[in-house]
């Protein structure tokens, strides 16, 4: 796996030298956390009186949305940093964040309707947050198409950095206007997390942490693959 697993933790147990790569450790941790999270969601947390089992998707839906916004925020940071420094690593960081962010965006768009079908009686409603997510998804489709047709590498990096910045500036406008527009569709659960019982709040925070670690791992891994890809292209073209 090359550089991705090169950083490792060295342990000395009973004079036995053990070296565990950090990323493998992180990957193992994510699997364990997800298994434990599933146990918390399905077994430990209470079943909602009104929504029954459908409510359980909330523990995946909201962390996915959080991961998406965090990833798109990282695209903004990467864009600004790329335009300032012109270091290719920021372009890779931006692209990796955009890709992983869009993956979570798709998860939000899938889990939302799964929940909405039994609760609202329809898979799709023009509810503000779901609509904002859909519009973000469309913006990032454009972002990836731009990268596809962008020409030389530096130009792609520069233009997509700009789109990443514009997209994030647009988010408050999109959310605010759709929120006002769809006032009659304000059926999204507006619960105050602070007032939730411990099992619900604890599980929710645990899933949020799990998704955040997963997000960081996926971005790092994707950056590594993108770097290898760049090197391969350079070798192929004899640069």
């Amino acid at each position: 796996m090359g550089k991705f697993h090169s950083k490792s933790i060295k342990l000395n147990i009973f004079n036995l030298q053990i070296s565990i790569p950090v990323n493998k450790l992180l990957f193992g941790l994510i699997i364990v956390m997800f298994a434990f999270g599933l146990y918390l969601v399905l077994v430990v947390t209470r079943v909602d009186a009104e929504q029954q089992m459908a409510q359980k998707i909330f523990y995946f839906h909201v962390p996915s949305a959080w991961s998406m916004f965090l990833a798109y925020f990282l695209v903004l940071i990467a864009g600004i940093q790329y335009l300032r420094t012109r270091a290719e690593k920021w372009d890779r960081f931006g692209l990796a964040s955009a890709e992983v962010g869009t993956l979570f965006c798709v998860l939000v768009l899938i889990t939302g309707p799964i929940w909405a079908t039994p609760i609202w009686g329809t898979p799709w409603s023009w509810e503000p947050r779901l609509t904002t997510t859909l519009i973000l998804f469309l913006i990032y489709i454009g972002y990836f198409m731009l990268r596809q047709y962008g020409g030389d590498r530096k130009q792609i990096a520069r233009l997509s950095a700009i789109i990443g910045i514009i997209a994030f500036i647009d988010v408050p406008f999109i959310y605010f206007s759709i929120n006002l527009w769809a006032e009659r569709d304000q059926v999204h659960p507006q619960s105050d997390m602070g007032g939730q019982p411990t099992d619900v709040l604890g599980t929710f925070l645990f899933m949020l942490l799990t998704f955040t670690i997963l997000l960081s791992y996926m971005i790092r891994y994707r950056m590594h693959v993108l770097e290898l890809d760049t090197k391969l292209t350079e070798l192929e073209h004899g640069i």
Partner: protein, 220 residues
């Protein structure tokens, strides 16, 4: 220098007339399609006309925005423009203003036809109506010029421009449709003031963003 750049765009258009004429012709075709496709009464049209009107304007603005930048690709005019001692932000401002003027000109041609063909009555508060038009046009062309400047640099720019622009411009579209709805139905300004404020903020934010960021867009 900004005046020279705007004059160049306007002069090119006055000689060729290709942007405004194609925008207006496209707009009229869309109106005819609306009328034939919906086959609705004027009351029914009144309900949907704000949305239909601004969707049409969005379509025709894409046509104009694309042309106003693609014209620079011919004979590498953009490369020469960049090598001239001109501020890149001024290039953005000139494109913004000229696209705004082209959109306005085509709207002056298309709008009466819209009212005539779809049997929608003209709003009474026409001063406010003009103001809504100007702000919305400034918003569409501010973001449009920025995105068109980006799309122009890549292959398939005519496809990339609407794909990027439409989702980004949704807040403005929603706002202007709400304002137009208020005007068409004779609602008080207070009732749709918030939408007007969103539009003004949108114009300011994307005008400033375009002005600041266009330097990076136009790098060679």
């Amino acid at each position: 220098m900004l005046r020279v750049l705007i004059k160049k765009d306007l002069l090119l258009e006055f000689r060729s007339k290709e942007i405004v004429v194609s925008m207006a012709a496209f707009g009229i075709s869309v109106i005819v399609l609306y009328a034939l496709g919906f086959n609705a009464s004027s009351e029914e049209f009144l309900k949907f006309s704000p949305g239909l009107l601004w969707m049409m304007f969005l379509f025709i603005s894409v046509l104009g925005l694309h042309r106003s930048f693609s014209i620079e690709k011919e004979f590498d005019a953009f490369g020469l423009l960049l090598s001239a001692p001109v501020s890149r932000s001024d290039i953005f401002l000139s494109k913004w203003i000229s696209s705004f003027l082209f959109l306005l000109m085509s709207q002056i041609i298309v709008l009466p036809i819209f009212f005539l063909f779809l049997n929608v009555s003209i709003p009474k508060e026409w001063l406010l109506w003009i103001l809504v038009f100007l702000i919305a046009d400034l918003g569409i062309t501010a973001l449009g010029s920025l995105v068109s400047g980006i799309a122009m640099r890549v292959r398939m720019s005519e496809v990339i421009l609407p794909i990027l622009l439409f989702p980004l411009v949704t807040p403005l579209l929603i706002s202007v449709v709400k304002c137009t709805h208020g005007l068409f139905n004779g609602l008080l300004f207070e009732e749709w003031k918030i939408w007007f404020q969103i539009m003004v903020t949108f114009v300011l934010v994307f005008g400033v963003t375009g002005y600041l960021i266009f330097d990076y867009v136009s790098e060679e």
